[in-house]
């Protein structure tokens, strides 16, 4: 057991002393989390902005409601030019009792939104002017729907991706560099089993995955990003570990084929990057075309991701782990058998 402990310690030290690896393990995914988190965060910035020329009771009502963001203009031509240039979706022009909306043809949805809102305010003002009580009442209320706020799907997605990347690269690059530097030969000449060497490297990867989880979730939960975890978030831990083992095995397979560190790194990227895009790391897969969703079912990262979303933010229980855990375990078995078949001790 002492060989296992010393080897794990050696590999852990090797890991924390390698600044490039630390960057790609922790900071790089975190950069994606921060950038996407901020860019996609919805709220006040999401309101539509329109140009306004002139003022009046309806414009004041619009301004007070906050339904649209108003950009005042003195010159009608300037306001229309903004619409024509594509800077603003519409311009509202006040001519005494008459309100004109000039909208851009290109974005029909946005134009319809503006026209609808302005029209609503005009109708309301007309009704008020008649002094009649309204016959039909109207009420609007928010509903929490299944569509998640970006940070809620970004965090599990980027976490799964970060864990996959560091496990694949960790095992592939270690294997290739050990083979090239004859460390593998050195190990083969020692009375120690390949299993204890492999498992000590796997232990380091598993530890790294847990630290990644703690850091990414911790930062996403800051008020700035506003991640809210659901009750059974800790179910993500077994999923993290299963994912680490699966992608570690994938890295062993890549490392068995690659001859140099450079080719291992390129091959790992080719395997991981498309999988990340198709598995919902950066956007929810259910917004993708149906055929793409079908394709993405083939990727273990997709299932890890689904499981992460379910237990971290959707508040699902242990039953949500069933499919992802089975897929990851099956994937691990198949890939590990393949990897052990093609494994080479020597160059």
């Amino acid at each position: 057991m002492t060989a296992f402990r010393t080897l794990s310690l050696a590999m852990f030290k090797g890991f924390v002393r390698d600044k490039a690896t630390l960057f790609f393990t922790f900071l790089f995914p975190l950069m994606f989390l921060v950038i996407f988190g901020l860019v996609l965060s919805d709220g006040a910035a999401d309101r539509t902005k329109v140009a306004v020329v002139g003022d009046g009771p309806i414009v004041s009502a619009l301004r007070d409601s906050g339904a649209l963001e108003l950009e005042p203009h003195h010159d009608e031509d300037a306001a229309v030019r903004k619409v024509r240039d594509g800077d603003l979706p519409a311009a509202v022009i006040v001519r005494g009792q008459r309100l004109e909306v000039r909208f851009a043809q290109s974005d029909q949805v946005e134009a319809a939104t503006v026209v609808g809102i302005v029209n609503g305010f005009v109708d309301k003002a007309n009704l008020a002017a008649t002094g009649q009580p309204p016959r039909y009442a109207f009420a609007a209320e928010k509903v929490e729907d299944a569509a998640l706020k970006p940070i809620q799907y970004l965090t599990p997605g980027i976490l799964s991706w970060g864990v996959a990347v560091s496990a694949v690269f960790g095992s592939a690059l270690t294997l290739v560099s050990w083979r090239r530097k004859q460390v593998l030969r050195r190990i083969r000449l020692a009375p120690v089993s390949a299993t204890s060497v492999l498992s000590s490297r796997l232990l380091v990867s598993a530890g790294v995955a847990l630290v990644q989880g703690a850091i990414f979730v911790g930062i996403a939960a800051l008020p700035l990003f506003g991640l809210t975890l659901s009750g059974q978030w800790w179910l993500a831990i077994p999923l993290l570990l299963l994912g680490t083992i699966a992608f570690f095995a994938l890295g062993m397979l890549v490392g068995a084929f690659a001859k140099t560190e450079e080719s291992a790194s390129a091959a790992a990227n080719i395997v991981v990057l498309p999988m990340a895009f198709l598995s919902g790391t950066f956007f929810p897969v259910d917004r993708a075309p149906a055929w793409l969703q079908a394709v993405s079912q083939a990727f273990p990262l997709r299932h890890m991701n689904d499981g992460m979303v379910d237990v971290l933010v959707r508040g699902k229980g242990v039953e949500a782990l069933l499919v992802p855990a089975s897929v990851l375990t099956g994937f691990t078995l198949v890939v590990a058998v393949l990897a052990s078949r093609v494994f080479k001790w020597e160059e």
Binding site: A3, R5, T6, L9, A10, K13, Q182, R185, R186, L189
Partner: protein, 303 residues
């Protein structure tokens, strides 16, 4: 060479890679406690021979006994008793010299204290906390030898330990190798520095193109060569004609800087030179292993 049982027995071992016969019928025996050198130019089959003895490769035919056992297939019982030094970069990433030794030691269940002893032995005690990649080539080479010795093996295999070292580092390493020998280890090592083998080895096997051409103590090989001794003097201390006429001289010739006399009886030649007071710039060179190689292959030795 007292051992009841030889440390290494190699019997008619052959290994081909496609058309290339890398090892072509090699046989030799290494006694316990012997410092055994395998010499030859690059591509002579030294490394393949070594790898077969270590159990890293399977010979196509022939037999290998290492400490009385077969090293192939991977013989876990044998592994703790052999130490193999690999190329100078076979280390774990980013670890210090001492951490490397401790990690390699742990593969054999060796205590941490041994690591410090080994650093002392190879003269790296003051570099214990230095990262492996910050050591010089010679220091790395010594560290890799220490890693091969950390579990106190009986037989040590060193593959070109002095390759790519500057002369000073080579000399330092010789001291390390002698210290290992003094600990009673059997050493089997390859080199393409013939001069070094002459100084260090009890016996050498000269290999070329996969075959052992000669196998004996270096001094015996050189003596058996019957090569003339070359006496070199500064040019002008003696005319060439007079030198040629001296008793025992076989041949004398002169170039721009020196006069070279060849003789198989150096004693009368040297005393005759002394009588004439013609000893300026005197150098006496006897046959070397390079001459042996030339005699065996008909080719100049090129490492």
């Amino acid at each position: 060479m007292t051992g009841e049982q030889p440390a290494v027995v190699v019997r008619d071992v052959r290994k081909s890679y496609g058309e290339l016969k890398a090892v072509n019928g090699v046989s030799f025996t290494v006694a316990e406690g012997e410092f055994f050198g395998i010499l030859g130019p690059n591509g002579a089959g030294k490394t393949t021979t070594l790898e077969i003895i270590e159990g890293l490769r399977r010979p196509d035919s022939g037999e290998v006994r290492l400490l009385g056992e077969s090293p192939w297939p991977r013989n876990v019982k044998l592994l703790p008793r052999i130490g193999v030094q690999l190329q100078a970069s076979s280390f774990f990433e980013k670890l210090t010299a001492e951490e490397q030794l401790r990690t390699f030691g742990s593969l054999y269940g060796v205590s941490a204290g041994t690591a410090a002893d080994m650093l002392e032995l190879v003269g790296l005690a003051d570099k214990a906390n230095e990262r492996e990649n910050r050591l010089s080539g010679g220091q790395r080479q010594r560290l890799s030898i220490a890693c091969a010795l950390v579990h106190d093996p009986d037989v040590v295999f060193l593959d070109e330990p002095t390759a790519a070292l500057d002369p000073q580092a080579r000399r330092n390493l010789w001291d390390v190798l002698r210290a290992i020998r003094d600990r009673g280890k059997t050493i089997v090592y390859t080199t393409h520095h013939l001069d070094e083998a002459e100084v260090l080895c009890d016996r050498v096997a000269i290999m070329d193109r996969g075959e052992v051409l000669a196998l004996d103590p270096p001094a015996v090989l050189v003596r058996g060569l019957d090569a003339p001794t070359h006496v070199t003097l500064q040019k002008g201390v003696l005319p060439v004609a007079e030198a040629s006429a001296l008793d025992g001289v076989e041949e004398a010739h002169e170039d721009e800087v020196s006069l070279t006399i060849s003789t198989r009886r150096p004693a009368p030649v040297l005393s005759a030179l002394a009588e004439r007071g013609a000893l300026d710039g005197l150098q006496v060179r006897t046959g070397t292993l390079e001459d042996v190689f030339l005699g065996l292959t008909g080719r100049e030795y090129r490492a």
